[in-house]
C-alpha cells in the first residue's frame, strides 16, 4: 500500500514552503491589504514562474514538466499556509481544466503561455445570485456568452478566463479571452487576495469540454482547493499554538488550560480528517478512480470545516488582541470566507457527497 505523496511531490512542497516562508506570510499579506497595493506580488510571482511551478502540471508536449496532481496539491497547500500573494492556485485550477477538458488545439494554444508565465489564466464560476456552481445564469448563445461572473479571484491581469456557464446539456466550461470582456475590481471580505467582476455581453467564447468535463473538473478543483484550505487552517493552528505557549493568565501559560488545549486538539483532529480525504481525492485523481466525486466532495467539506474552525477559534483563543486590526488572525478569518465562496459552499458539496454515495449504492444493488 502506498497511500502517501511521492517523494518528488514532497520535495517540491518543501521547496515551496521554503520560498513562501521567506518571501510570503503575514507581513507581506499586511502590505498587500493597502488600497494602493498591487494586485499581486510581481517579484514573488516571477520567482514562482522561474522555478517552474506554473509549468508543473502542464504536459511536456506543451512546454511543461508533466507532473501529477500531487505536485499541484503540495503547491496549493504551501501557498495557502503562507497566504502567498500570487495567483498560483488560480493558475493550478485553470491548468487542470485545460488538461482534462481541452482539445489538442486548445491545449497547444494556451498551456505553453501558462507554463512560461506569459499568459495568466483564472477560473470564473461564481456569479451574483447563483448559490451553487450548477445554478448558473450566464448563458451561451452560439459562440458567445452573456452574464456576470463575480467575485472571481485573481481576475485583474488575467488574459484567459475559464468561465462556467449554463448550456443545453447542463453547465459547462468556456474559454474567454478577457480582452473582449469587461473586467472590474470588486471588494471582498478577503483584503489580501484581489477579486474581480467579469461582465460578458455577447462575448466571443469557445466551449472547453462538455457538461461531464465540468463536473469532473469541479471534483479536481475541490481537491486542490482542499489542500489550500488545509494549508491556511494549519497556519492558523500553528499561530495559535505558539501563542498559547507564551501567553500567561492566572499565573500559567494558557496552553495548560484544557479549555484552550482541547480546542487546539480539535483543530488538529479536523485538519487530519481533511488531509485523509484530500489524499484519497488525490489518489482518485491520479488513478482516474471511480470514487473521485465521493472523495473530492468529502475533502471539500472536511477542509472547509477544518479551516472555519481553525480560523474562528484562532481569534477566540487569542482573546482581545486577536480581534484587533493589527492581529494576523484576521487574515485566516477572512480567507476562510474567500475559500468557502469559490466553487460552491459546504452545503452543496455535502449534498454532492451523499448523491455520490447513493449512486454507488444503486450501482452495487
Amino acid at each position: 500500500m502506498n497511500f502517501d505523496f511521492s517523494d518528488d511531490a514532497k520535495a517540491l512542497g518543501e521547496q515551496a514552503r521554503r520560498l513562501f516562508a521567506d518571501k510570503a506570510g503575514t507581513a507581506p499579506a499586511r502590505r498587500a491589504m493597502a488600497a494602493d497595493a498591487p494586485d499581486h506580488d510581481a517579484a514573488l510571482w516571477a520567482e514562482v514562474v522561474a522555478l517552474g511551478w506554473t509549468a508543473a502540471r502542464v504536459p511536456e508536449a506543451h512546454g511543461g514538466l508533466g507532473l501529477t496532481p500531487e505536485e499541484s496539491a503540495q503547491l496549493a497547500e504551501a501557498a495557502g499556509h503562507y497566504l502567498a500573494h500570487v495567483p498560483l492556485v488560480s493558475t493550478l485550477l485553470a491548468t487542470e481544466a485545460l488538461i482534462i477538458a481541452g482539445s489538442e488545439a486548445q491545449q497547444a494554444k494556451y498551456l505553453p503561455g501558462i507554463a512560461d508565465g506569459s499568459l495568466r489564466a483564472v477560473v470564473a464560476v461564481n456569479e451574483p445570485g447563483a448559490p451553487s456552481p450548477t445554478s448558473l445564469k450566464t448563458r451561451a448563445d452560439g459562440g458567445a456568452l452573456t452574464g456576470v461572473k463575480a467575485p472571481i479571484a485573481d481576475l485583474a491581469g488575467a488574459g484567459l478566463a475559464i468561465v462556467a456557464a449554463a448550456g443545453p446539456d447542463g453547465p459547462s466550461l468556456w474559454l474567454v479571452e478577457t480582452a473582449a470582456a469587461t473586467v472590474e475590481a470588486v471588494e471582498t471580505l478577503d483584503l489580501v487576495r484581489r477579486h474581480g467582476r467579469l461582465t460578458l455581453d455577447g462575448t466571443p467564447a469557445e466551449p472547453l469540454g462538455d457538461a461531464a468535463a465540468y463536473q469532473a473538473w469541479l471534483d479536481r478543483a475541490a481537491v486542490i482547493l482542499a489542500y489550500e484550505a488545509i494549508g491556511t487552517g494549519h497556519a492558523a493552528m500553528d499561530m495559535t499554538v505558539a501563542y498559547a505557549k507564551t501567553r500567561v493568565a492566572f499565573g500559567q501559560t494558557i496552553g495548560r488550560y484544557q479549555g484552550v488545549k482541547h480546542k487546539l486538539a480539535d483543530m488538529y483532529i479536523k485538519l487530519e480528517l481533511a488531509r485523509a480525504h484530500a489524499l484519497h481525492g488525490l489518489a482518485m485523481m491520479d488513478a482516474g478512480g471511480a470514487e473521485l466525486t465521493q472523495s473530492a466532495s468529502a475533502a471539500r467539506v472536511a477542509s472547509l470545516d477544518a479551516l472555519a474552525f481553525c480560523a474562528e477559534e484562532a481569534v477566540q483563543l487569542h482573546g482581545g488582541i486577536g480581534y484587533t486590526w493589527e492581529s494576523d488572525c484576521q487574515f485566516y478569518y477572512r480567507r476562510n470566507r474567500a475559500l468557502v465562496g469559490t466553487i460552491g459552499a459546504r452545503g452543496w458539496w455535502a449534498d454532492r457527497l451523499v448523491r455520490a454515495l447513493e449512486q454507488r449504492n444503486r450501482a452495487a444493488a
Binding site: 500500500m1 502506498n2 497511500f3 502517501d4 511521492s6 500531487e70 493552528m237 499554538v241 498559547a244 505557549k245 500559567q252 501559560t253 496552553g255 495548560r256 484544557q258 488545549k261 482541547h262 487546539l264 486538539a265 480539535d266 488538529y268 483532529i269 487530519e272 480528517l273 481533511a274 488531509r275 485523509a276 480525504h277 489524499l279 484519497h280 488525490l282 489518489a283 491520479d286 488513478a287 466532495s297 468529502a298 467539506v301 472536511a302 470545516d305 452545503g347 455535502a350 449534498d351 457527497l353 451523499v354 454515495l357 447513493e358 449504492n361
Partner: protein, 405 residues
C-alpha cells in the same frame, strides 16, 4: 499512489488466506448465541490452531515464541481473519498488552514459564490497572504491596478488569512505597487469579452486560520472582503495557452501524413532510458528516499502514482515531434514533431489529468514549504530545504520595 500490497505482502496474504479458508470454515457466520463457557471453549480451540500454524505473536521476537515479523504482517493477518466470525476478545488484552510486558520486563524463567502457554491460549490473562479512585490518573493507584520475606502481600481493589472471571493470571500495578512521589513508588507483579484472597465480582454496565469486573485483593501473596521490572519502576513498566494498548484500541467496533445504515434507515423513514427522510437537507448533512468522520479514520489508518509498509514509523495522526470514532458512533446512533421517533424507544422483543442495533450502539458508545482513555485525556495527549503544549498543572506530581492532598 495505490492501495495494493507489495509482492511480499501479497504472498503472505495469499498464504494466510488459504490457511484461513481451510481452517476457519466453521466461523463464516456470526455466533450470537454463544454463552461464556462456549465462547471460552471455542476461543481456546481456535487460538491453539493458530498457534500450531504460526499465526500468533506475529510481531514478537522469535526467542520468546513469536514469529519475528513486521507490523504489516500482523495487520494483514488481522484483516484476513476479520473476514470470518472467529471468536475474538478473550486474548486481546492478555496477548495484546500483558504478555509483551511480561517478556519485556520479566525474568527469563518467568518468560519461559508463562509466554508459551499464553500464546497457545491455554492460560488467559487480564490487566489489573484501574482502581475506583484512579482511572485517567492511573499513577494515583492505592492497592499496596508489602514485602514479606521472598513474597509480597497485596491488599486493595481493582476495577474495569475485562475477562478477570475467565483469567488464570493477571499483571497488577501496586504501590510499594507511599513515601515518594506517586509515579516513583509503583511496582508491577504477575498475580495468580485463583490465589487465596482474590475475589472477582462482575460489574453490571449501563448496557446490562457484564464484560468487566471488580477484583478484590485481601492478603494475596505473590513471590518476588513474579515481579516485572525493578521495585519502584512500575510506572515505566505500565507505560510498556499502555503503549501496546494504543496499538490495540482504535477502530469502530465491527458491529457498530455506520453511514450506510444511516442512509438505509433514512430511505425507509418518513420526514415530517411525508417525503423520505433521506431527501431532507439536515439528514443529508448528517450523513455527510458521519461519512467524513468514519471514512476519515479509515483513511487515516491507511496512511499509517503505508508508513509501516515502507518500514517507516507512522506519524502522530493516528492519535485522532478513538476520540473521533467513539463520538461519531454516539452521534450517529442518536440521530438515527431521533429519525425513528417513538419506534427508536421500543426495546427488547418490541424493538425493530435494525433499531435495536442502533440502541446498543448508542449505549455502547457512552462506554467507548471512556474506555482506553477518555475523550478528554485523548485531547490532552494530542495537545501535549503532538502540538507540544505544556502539561496540565499537577499539584501532586512531586509530593510524596502519602502527603498529597
Amino acid at each position: 499512489m495505490d492501495f495494493n500490497d507489495s509482492p511480499a505482502e501479497a504472498e503472505y496474504r495469499a498464504k494466510v488466506r488459504s490457511w484461513l479458508d481451510a481452517n476457519a470454515a466453521d466461523y463464516r457466520e456470526p455466533h450470537e448465541d454463544w454463552d461464556l463457557k462456549t465462547f471460552i471453549a471455542h476461543s481456546k480451540a481456535w487460538q491453539a490452531k493458530k498457534y500450531e500454524a504460526g499465526y500468533t505473536g506475529i510481531t514478537w521476537p522469535v526467542p520468546v515464541g513469536g514469529q519475528g515479523l513486521s507490523p504489516m504482517h500482523s495487520i494483514i493477518y488481522s484483516q484476513e481473519e476479520g473476514r470470518f466470525h472467529t471468536p475474538s476478545g478473550l486474548y486481546s488484552i492478555g496477548l495484546g498488552m500483558c504478555i509483551p510486558t511480561v517478556f519485556t520486563h520479566g525474568s527469563p524463567e518467568v518468560t519461559a514459564r508463562y509466554v508459551p502457554k499464553a500464546l497457545r491460549g491455554e492460560e488467559v490473562w487480564c490487566q489489573l490497572f484501574s482502581e475506583p479512585a484512579a482511572g485517567s490518573d492511573l499513577a494515583g493507584i492505592r492497592t499496596k504491596a508489602v514485602r514479606d520475606g521472598d513474597d509480597w502481600i497485596i491488599d486493595g481493589q481493582k476495577v474495569w478488569t475485562s475477562f478477570a472471571h475467565a483469567s488464570d493470571y493477571g499483571i497488577v500495578v501496586t504501590r510499594t512505597d507511599p513515601s515518594v512521589p506517586k509515579h516513583k513508588g509503583l511496582t508491577m507483579f504477575i498475580v495468580d487469579m485463583k490465589a487465596p484472597g482474590m475475589e472477582v465480582r462482575g460489574i453490571k454496565q449501563m448496557s446490562g452486560d457484564s464484560g468487566f469486573n471488580e477484583v478484590f485483593f485481601t492478603g494475596v501473596r505473590v513471590p518476588d520472582a513474579w515481579r516485572l521490572g525493578a521495585v519502584g519502576d512500575g510506572w515505566k513498566v505500565a507505560l510498556t503495557t499502555l503503549m501496546h494498548e494504543r496499538l490495540a484500541v482504535g477502530g469502530k467496533p465491527r458491529s457498530a452501524p455506520g453511514y450506510e445504515q444511516l442512509m438505509s434507515l433514512a430511505r425507509l423513514t418518513e420526514a415530517p413532510n411525508g417525503a423520505p427522510a433521506i431527501e431532507a437537507g439536515d439528514v443529508r448533512q448528517r450523513i455527510a458528516q458521519t461519512y467524513i468522520n468514519d471514512q476519515g479514520i479509515k483513511l487515516t489508518q491507511m496512511r499509517a499502514l503505508s508508513a509501516l509498509s515502507k518500514g517507516q514509523v507512522p506519524g502522530p495522526e493516528q492519535s485522532i482515531a478513538k476520540v473521533v470514532v467513539a463520538k461519531t458512533m454516539q452521534d450517529l446512533a442518536s440521530f438515527a434514533l431521533d429519525l425513528a421517533g417513538g419506534d427508536g424507544l421500543l426495546a427488547g422483543n418490541d424493538a425493530d431489529p435494525e433499531l435495536a442495533k442502533l440502541q446498543s450502539s448508542y449505549i455502547g458508545a457512552a462506554g467507548l468514549r471512556i474506555a482506553g482513555g477518555t475523550d478528554e485525556i485523548l485531547r490532552n495527549i494530542i495537545a501535549e504530545r503532538v502540538l507540544g503544549l505544556p502539561g496540565d498543572l499537577r499539584p501532586d506530581k512531586d509530593k510524596p504520595f502519602n502527603a498529597a492532598a
